[in-house]
Each structure stands twice: as structure tokens, then as C-alpha cells.
């Protein structure tokens, strides 16, 4: 076996020789350029009755150097009970300088995108699903237990014929004081947008903590 091993090394030597002629593979690591970056998503609200009441919230993805999400954090949204708010959805890529406005990009391709909202209770067992747009369709509503008393209406439209809603601009109507979460999902529906949730895939799926006082 001793001689065999020597032959292997001799073989590897020749392999090294001919391979050295084509070492372009070695260490030629091109920069990692992610195709799509979205680091922050948030909501900017203005009380229709009181412009000075302008709450907002922000959900942040913390990325590693490959563009993978390592952790997330979120600020809560504090709303007044029994009020109407004009809402603007904010999506940013803060890894670029200047900060890239992803929401503007989405607006340019609004015919492919649709936002859905889902107020949910903090307690999972009293989860409530809406069945109609802009709510995420799902199981039948179960009204056991307190849930976030919030209704959502999309107010913007794309250029499809007939036009379909987008959801970058919305109106939130709050009810009685309650606490819960608001789930926001951005659906990407190339060549398939029809106003419902199912076609395409999710580009963004986040939860904001909402306090209605």
C-alpha cells in the first residue's frame, strides 16, 4: 500500500500542475449582490379629524452580510378609539445609500402587487379571520374573546382593466379600545393578480403590535 500512496501523490502533483493553468475559480468571489432588499416595513397614519395625531410603526429586518435575516424588531402602533386614519405603507431598503424607497418601486409595478391586512387578537385561540378583501381569507370568524377592533379599507387602485386595489394607501377605522396584532402581507402576483389572496407568493409578511386606547 505504501507504493500505491506514493503513486497517488504523484498523480495529485500532475493534477495540480494542469489545474494551475485554470485557477480562475480560486478565490474569485464576486460581491454578494442580493436581488431584492427590504429592510424596513412600516405604517404612517394620520387621524382624519386631527392631523396632529400622526402615529407610526416600523418593523425592521436585521440582515447579515449575505442578505439573510438574522433578527427582527418592531415598534408598536398606538391608535385612538373610534377614529378614522389615513394610512400610508412604508417599505425601505436601508442598505443602500441613499435609502431606497421600495414602496415607490411597488407602486410602479402595482399591477403585480396586492397588500392584505389581518387584525388578530394577541391570544391565539380567539384568532379572527376576515373573509373578504382586504382581509386575508381563511377560516370562518370566531368571535370568542376580545380581538383587535380595527377595520381596514384599501383606497388606491392600479391600472389593470378593470382597476384592482393595491393597498399602499388605506383607511383604518378603529372601534372600542382593544389590543392585538395587525398582520400585513404583500402578495406578489405576476400575470395573475385578480383581487384575491391566492395567486402568487408572499414578498412580505409582518405583524405589528397595535394598541387602541
Amino acid at each position: 500500500m505504501f507504493k500505491l500512496k506514493h503513486s497517488i501523490y504523484a498523480l495529485l502533483g500532475t493534477a495540480l500542475f494542469y489545474a494551475s493553468c485554470s485557477n480562475k475559480a480560486e478565490q474569485a468571489v464576486a460581491p454578494t449582490i442580493a436581488n431584492e432588499q427590504l429592510t424596513s416595513a412600516g405604517l404612517k397614519l394620520t387621524n382624519q379629524a386631527d392631523p396632529s395625531d400622526a402615529p407610526s410603526c416600523l418593523y425592521r429586518f436585521h440582515l447579515d452580510n449575505k442578505g439573510n435575516v438574522t433578527s427582527t424588531d418592531s415598534t408598536s402602533l398606538n391608535l385612538k378609539a373610534n377614529a378614522k386614519y389615513n394610512v400610508q405603507v412604508v417599505m425601505l431598503d436601508t442598505t443602500q445609500t441613499p435609502t431606497f424607497d421600495v414602496a415607490a418601486e411597488i407602486k410602479d409595478r402595482a399591477n403585480y402587487h396586492l397588500l392584505f391586512f389581518q387584525p388578530t387578537p394577541v391570544a391565539q385561540q380567539s384568532l379572527v379571520f376576515g373573509n373578504t378583501s382586504p382581509y386575508i381569507p381563511g377560516t370562518a370568524p370566531s368571535a370568542t374573546g376580545p380581538y383587535l377592533n380595527l377595520s381596514v379599507a384599501r383606497t388606491d387602485q392600479d391600472t389593470n382593466n378593470p382597476p384592482l386595489q393595491v393597498g399602499l394607501a388605506d383607511v383604518f377605522t378603529t372601534g372600542a379600545a382593544s389590543t392585538g396584532k395587525l398582520r400585513v402581507v404583500l402578495r406578489h402576483q405576476p400575470n395573475a393578480k385578480n383581487g384575491t389572496f391566492d395567486p402568487g407568493s408572499s414578498d412580505l409578511d409582518v405583524n405589528f403590535i397595535v394598541n387602541i386606547k
Partner: protein
């Protein structure tokens, strides 16, 4: 080198056997025409009643071994009177034959034999697809073309991408040879189909079982060898062939043309071949709906040039494969929530129209192979061959654009591979034959854009020997191989934004031992044991990123150990003029089997939660049986039956192994009508394929339970027309004739959609001669 060869001879060759056999003497001589004294080549010299025998060389010489005692020698040559002679052997002898031409005219010569394919490992099961069986796969992908082989199935990603599975194992464990060059592509994804144009093939060989001893560690479960026919040798000839295929389902059109020839007397020995294929397909439909974005566009080209001298040969070969494959819409999921919702629906939610247009998501793959090969006959029964090949595989994956306007691919990977191998084949008259070889490989990766696989450099070296001894009813075979791998990866460390260089080495010994016993001329029994190993591949060690389509985030494990397989197989083979039966049983125990396992934890992506998958190891075993029956009650009727059964168990977790092919039964009948009017060689056939539900699946592992059993009916009619002294071979086939809606367990898009519906395929083949 010589020492090494000697070592192998001593280890595996004659030494083991010559101890027990009686003294052998060398009998040599020459065979000549008595009148002209010119040497007669390829005359046979045999010892009747034994398997000892040889054909004379170009100079009319022969050499064989005989035991001590009285020896009966028989010398035969077509057109000459046969000579028998008996003499006593107690030393090396020279016996010359001068043959006298026979007065008898040859009335008729009936040759009824099938050429025995040269098998690299004689005691391992090999299936060959050729002739009309191969013609009937024209236009299909390589994976689909192999489905007719018992024990072989495919792992699919929608209708356009499939890769072969042999005895339950797939991916890098199945080695694919393109004209003798091991395909070094990017086998690290389920949706990576082999980059080979099946139109190149004149013959596809499938070795079922561990063939690592001959082909290196990657051939742990089998080898698929796509062989073009040998280049022509008729001086001054020029031939061609045109193939056209049309399919109704995806409206696939494929056109392939080939031109070959051998140069005239001034350049005798020089021959060439040019071949090209163009293939286009649009959206495939299931019985109920069209699968959006499942088109493909493929362009292939190959060229070969050879110089053949009686004692040596040099060959150059180049092939280019380029494909663009659409990935079905609705299979691109952003999160586990998406996946569950789509599985609950189980079919596309949008109606798509037929189109040839391929939109995002899609992938483009190109593969270039350049090969130089030569051999030299160093004696009448031994030769040395040398082969060098360079391959470049480039892969781009384009995801749907959503948040960015970048037109760049999300993944770009290019791997460069050079391989070199040297083989020495030898054979002597006493029943010994064998091959000794050395091989080396260097591979490197260049990546851009998204991170999935790091850059790496790999050096592989191997040395092997296989020796065969055949005597009487026995064929014995033994072989050994040593492999060494050096792998350096440039792994991106995402915490500190720098590249970490890690180097790992792997080495191991593979061995094979087998025996064939011919119980009668028609009936033989073969047993084989192979010990093989496979070092972890680059993706299993280092993959780190989102794998789209089924909402998974894959993580490699740098601490993976080499997987080791012990493979036993037993093969019963019976064939006579009306029945051919083959029964194979196998047991394959793999320790430290590497596979992907869901961790149960989630990776938080912007699009929602993805399930984390981690490469892990377990001790598993596969056991199964393949049964292949062909019955010809009359010359015109042929009934065939193929059964594949397989069972896989994960001993570490005491549960079944995921993605094991379910039981498969294929029964067919073909009737040959002969000539009907202007239609020649008319044959009509029908078959049923029944695939059972996989009940041996682990619970709580998969996203959806295995789909139900399905039964498909296929039919075909083929005939030949004669037009201006040119044959036109037609084949019209219907696949899934009854338009059944079904899902296949080994299609990873079964979560989202059904398999294709009825497909009528028209094939035309026109071989022609150019004068």
C-alpha cells in the same frame, strides 16, 4: 507506474488463482494460407471442451495457455478446411497451422447472436437501451428516457426537469457519462436536470449497483452511460440521419440532424461526425388545466473527429448543451404559510393559456465538454488508453422580480472541471482479463449574486484495478480502488464580512467481488458484493441560503463524514428463444447516509417563515427486487412485464426513509404485423404502468402525504416507409391515453399541481447515405 501495475497484479490478479491450478504452458504459433503463405488474421484457435480460445492477430499469430497433458487444438477459419490436432504438452510449444482453402461454397450463413456488451464490472447488473426501445424515447429528457429500465425512476421538478433515481438513490450518487466523460455539473439541487442531449445516444447503458470501483466515489448507486455509435470506418463514406419529433401536449417540436463519414483513401483512418438538436416546447397541460410557464428551449451541438490506425487511435470530441427551462408559476412560494395554503388548494389558482414564451421564474444552463482520447495496442491482447476532458457548466437562476428592478439572475454559478484518466486493459488466453487505471480531477467554482454555494477548489485522485478470471462455468471478479479528495472552500462568513478558507480531505478504499455461475447455457446466477464510499459534496457541507419553490432554507454541515455503502446483489438470468427472465434482489446498507432533514425550526425571511432544513447523516438500508420478463410465444408476439419493488428504512430514527420510490409495475404487449401494403415492419403495442401509493413514508416529515396510486395506459404504432430507396421510420405513441389526473410521489411539484395529461407523440427518423 510499472511497479504499481505489478502491485495490482499481485493483489488482485493471477497470484490468487495460480496457486491452486496445475502447471500451465504457453502454446503459440501462426496461422497462414498454405498456398500464398499470407497470414490469416482472426482465425480461431481453441481447445474444444474448455473456454480457452483466441483469435489470431493481424499477423496471424496466436498465443494461449494449456495445462500439462494431452491437448486437443482446433483451428478454424471461414473458407478453409478446419484442422484438429492432438499433442502432449510438457513444455512451451510452437504449433503453426497452414490452412487449405475449402472447395465447398458457403451456402448460407446464419448468425444468430446478440453482441455481449463490454461490461466494466462483469458481475454487476447492466441494462442497455438501444434500437427501437431507444427510438421510442426520442424527444424525451434523459431522465424520462430511463424510466423504461426496471429499478430506475425519476425525481422530477415539474414536467420539464427530471433526474434519474437508481434503486432509490439519486443526485450525485448516480454518475452520468456523456461519451465516456463523467458529467460534472451542479448536482446539488433537486431541480438540476442532467445536461445531456439524448439524441446523441445510439445506446444508453445503466449499471445498477455500486460502480465506484471503476468510476470513482460518485457512482455509489449506479452509472448511466450515454454512448454515441462508433465513428464510421468505411473509407470514403458519408452518412446522415434526421430525426423529427412532435408532441401534442406541450406542442414540443424537436429536430435533430447528424452527418458522419470517413475520409477517402488519401486520408484513410480519419473520420468525423457532426450532430445538432433544436428543441422547443410550450406550456404542458394536465387533464384539467394548463401548467403556466412550463416551456423549454434547448439547443445542442456536438462534433467528433477520430484518426484510427490499426494499432492506435486518437479522438477529439466537443459537445455543447444549452437550455432554458421555465419553472411553473404557482410553485414559487414565499413562506411556509404560502406553501400550506397552496397544498390545501392542490392546483393552480390562475388559468393560463398555451404559450411558448418562458417568463420568470426560469433557469438557463449551459454545459460544454471537450475531450481528447487515445489508445494504443501494446500487444494483441492489451492496450493503454488515455483521456483528458474539460467541462464548463454555467447556471443562472432567474427569480420573479418583486421588490427590485434588477435584471440580474439571483444565482449564478459556473464550475470548471478537468479530468484525466489512464487505463490499461489486458487479457490472456488462460481466462484472465482485467483493467488497471488511474484518474485525477480538478474542479473549481465561480459564483456571483446570491449566496448559496461557496467558491471551492477540489483535487481528486484515484487508482483502481479489476481482475477477471473465467474458467468453465465460472466467472470470478475482484477489484479494489483507492480515492483521495482534497477540498478547499472559500466560505463567506456573514458575521465579519470576510471569506474563511477551510480545507478538508477525504480518502477511502472501495472493493468489489463477484461471481457468475452458468448453470446451463441459458441460465446463469450472479452474485456481487461492493463496498463503496462517497465523501460529502460541496453543497452538503456548505450550502447556506434560501431554496425557493418549497419554502425551505438549507444549511450544510461542515462536520459530515464520508458515507459508506455495502451493497449485495443476486441476479438470476434465464434466456432462451421464447423467454427472457431476469430477477435481481439487492440489499444496500449505507452508513452515514447524507440527506436533508427538516429541523422543525423556522428561518425568518422577509416573506414570512421558511422551514429550516439541515443536512444530516443516518444509517439506512435499501432492499428491493427487480423482475424483468419478456415472453415471445410466437415470432410476432411479445409480452413484457417489469416490476420494481423497493423498501428503505432509516435505522437511526427507526422510521422509513423519505422520497423512496413506490412499487412500480409495467406490463406491455407488442404485435409485429410484418409488412402491410406499403407499410413495412408494422408493430402495434400497448402497455399499462401501475404505480402504487407509497405507504412506507415517514409521518410528520413531509408537507403533504404521498399521493394515491395511479394507472396509466400507453400505446404505440411504428412502421417504415420506403421512398426513393430511403427508409422513413415512423413511430406514433400515445402517453396517458385515458387522460388520467394523477400525482407522482417523486415529483416535488405534486404539492401544487397534477401530472401532464394525454400526449400524442409523432416521431420520424430518416437515415440516408450521401454518395
Amino acid at each position: 507506474m510499472r511497479r504499481l501495475l505489478l502491485l495490482f497484479f499481485i493483489l488482485f490478479g493471477k497470484y490468487c488463482f495460480s496457486q491452486t491450478s496445475p502447471a500451465q504452458y504457453l502454446i503459440s504459433g501462426r496461422v497462414r494460407d498454405k498456398k500464398s503463405q499470407s497470414p490469416l488474421s482472426a482465425a480461431s484457435v481453441t481447445i474444444p471442451g474448455t473456454t480457452t480460445g483466441i483469435f489470431t492477430s493481424n499477423k496471424g499469430n496466436y498465443q494461449l495457455k494449456a495445462p500439462q497433458g494431452i491437448v486437443h487444438l482446433h483451428c478454424e477459419y471461414v473458407g478453409y478446411i478446419t484442422v484438429d490436432t492432438t499433442f502432449t504438452v510438457n513444455q512451451n510449444k510452437v504449433i503453426n497451422f497452414d490452412l487449405i482453402p475449402s472447395d465447398k461454397e458457403l451456402n448460407q450463413v446464419n448468425v444468430r447472436a446478440t453482441a455481449i456488451a463490454h461490461k466494466e464490472i462483469a458481475t454487476q447488473n447492466m441494462t442497455v437501451i438501444q434500437g427501437s426501445d431507444l427510438d421510442r424515447t426520442r424527444g424525451l429528457s434523459l431522465g424520462d428516457a430511463l424510466k423504461s429500465v426496471t429499478g430506475v425512476t425519476t425525481f422530477q421538478t415539474g414536467p420539464s426537469i427530471s433526474k434519474p433515481v437508481i434503486h432509490g438513490l439519486t443526485g450525485s450518487r448516480v454518475l452520468i457519462l456523456n461519451n465516456g466523460v463523467g458529467l460534472q455539473a451542479q448536482q446539488w439541487g433537486q431541480e438540476h436536470a442532467p445536461e445531456i442531449d439524448p439524441f446523441i445516444a445510439n445506446q444508453i447503458e445503466v449499471i445498477k449497483g455500486a460502480a465506484g470501483i471503476r468510476y470513482g466515489a460518485d457512482a455509489l448507486s449506479g452509472v448511466v452511460s450515454v454512448n454515441p455509435k462508433p465513428l464510421p470506418v468505411d473509407t470514403g463514406s458519408m452518412n446522415g440521419e434526421v430525426n423529427a419529433v412532435g408532441m401534442t401536449n406541450s406542442r414540443l417540436g424537436a429536430f435533430s440532424a447528424m452527418l458522419e463519414g470517413a475520409m477517402g483513401p488519401k486520408l484513410a483512418g480519419l473520420s468525423y461526425r457532426l450532430q445538432g438538436t433544436v428543441k422547443r416546447a410550450g406550456n404542458t397541460s394536465t387533464p384539467d388545466y394548463i401548467l403556466g410557464n412550463t416551456g423549454l428551449a434547448e439547443n445542442d451541438f456536438s462534433a467528433a473527429l477520430q484518426y484510427h490506425h490499426k494499432n492506435y487511435c486518437i479522438e477529439g470530441y466537443y459537445s455543447y448543451f444549452d437550455t432554458k427551462l421555465g419553472i411553473q408559476y404557482d410553485t414559487e412560494v414565499g413562506s411556509i404559510d404560502d406553501l400550506q395554503r397552496k397544498i390545501a388548494i392542490g392546483h393552480p389558482v390562475t388559468n393560463y393559456d398555451f404559450t411558448y414564451h418562458i417568463d420568470r421564474p426560469y433557469q438557463t444552463v449551459s454545459h460544454e465538454t471537450a475531450k481528447a482520447k487515445g489508445f494504443i495496442n501494446i500487444s494483441d491482447s492489451s492496450k493503454i488508453s488515455l483521456q483528458y476532458a474539460y467541462q464548463v457548466n454555467t447556471r443562472r437562476e432567474f427569480e420573479p422580480l418583486s421588490l427590485s428592478s434588477s435584471l440580474a439572475p439571483s444565482i449564478y454559478l459556473q464550475i470548471h472541471t478537468s479530468t484525466i484518466e489512464a487505463n490499461y486493459d489486458h487479457k490472456d488466453g488462460a481466462g484472465f482479463s482485467g483493467t488497471v487505471g488511474l484518474s485525477g480531477m480538478n474542479q473549481g467554482n465561480v459564483r456571483m449574486y446570491g449566496y448559496l454555494i461557496p467558491n471551492f477548489v477540489d483535487y481528486d485522485g484515484g487508482a483502481y484495478a479489476i481482475e477477471r478470471y473465467s474458467r468453465g462455468k465460472w466467472l470470478l471478479e475482484a477489484g479494489g480502488r483507492y480515492d483521495y479528495r482534497w477540498l478547499r472552500a472559500y466560505v463567506f462568513d456573514d458575521n465579519v464580512d470576510k471569506i474563511n478558507t477551510t480545507t478538508t480531505t477525504y480518502s477511502g478504499i472501495s472493493a468489489t467481488g463477484g461471481a457468475t455461475y452458468h448453470i446451463t447455457n441459458d441460465f446463469k446466477l450472479t452474485g456481487n458484493y461492493s463496498a463503496a464510499f462517497r465523501p460529502p459534496s460541496i453543497n452538503e457541507l456548505y450550502i447556506d441560503g434560501v431554496h425557493q419553490s418549497i419554502g425551505e432554507f438549507e444549511i450544510g454541515d461542515i462536520n459530515l463524514k464520508t458515507e459508506r455503502a455495502n451493497n449485495f446483489s443476486l441476479n438470476l438470468n434465464y434466456s432462451n428463444h421464447w423467454l427472457a427472465a431476469e430477477l435481481e434482489g439487492y440489499y444496500n446498507k449505507i452508513n452515514d447516509f447524507i440527506f436533508e432533514e427538516p429541523t422543525g425550526s423556522y428561518y425568518r425571511a422577509r416573506s414570512g417563515a421558511l422551514l429550516k432544513f439541515q443536512y444530516t447523516q443516518a444509517n439506512v438500508y435499501f432492499r428491493g427486487a427487480d423482475l424483468n420478463l419478456t415472453i415471445r410465444p410466437t415470432d410476432s408476439l411479445e409480452i413484457s412485464s417489469k416490476t420494481s419493488l423497493i423498501y428503505a428504512w432509516n435505522e437511526t430514527i427507526h422510521d422509513y426513509l423519505i422520497y423512496t420510490p413506490p412499487a412500480r409495475f409495467q406490463n406491455g404487449i407488442t404485435y409485429h404485423f410484418g409488412n402491410v401494403g406499403i407499410f413495412k415492419n408494422v408493430a402495434l403495442g400497448a402497455e399499462n404502468i401501475y404505480v402504487a401509493r407509497q405507504t412506507h413514508a415517514p409521518t410528520g416529515y413531509d408537507f403533504a402525504p404521498p399521493p394515491g396510486a395511479y394507472s396509466l395506459y400507453n400505446a404505440h404504432v411504428d412502421f417504415r416507409l420506403l421512398l426513393n430507396h430511403t427508409y422513413l421510420d415512423f413511430d406514433i405513441a400515445a402517453v396517458n391515453l385515458t387522460n388520467v389526473s394523477y400525482k407522482d410521489y417523486l415529483d416535488r411539484f405534486r404539492y401544487f399541481a397534477n401530472e401532464p395529461g394525454r400526449n400524442i407523440i409523432f416521431r420520424l427518423r430518416v437515415p440516408f447515405k450521401i454518395k
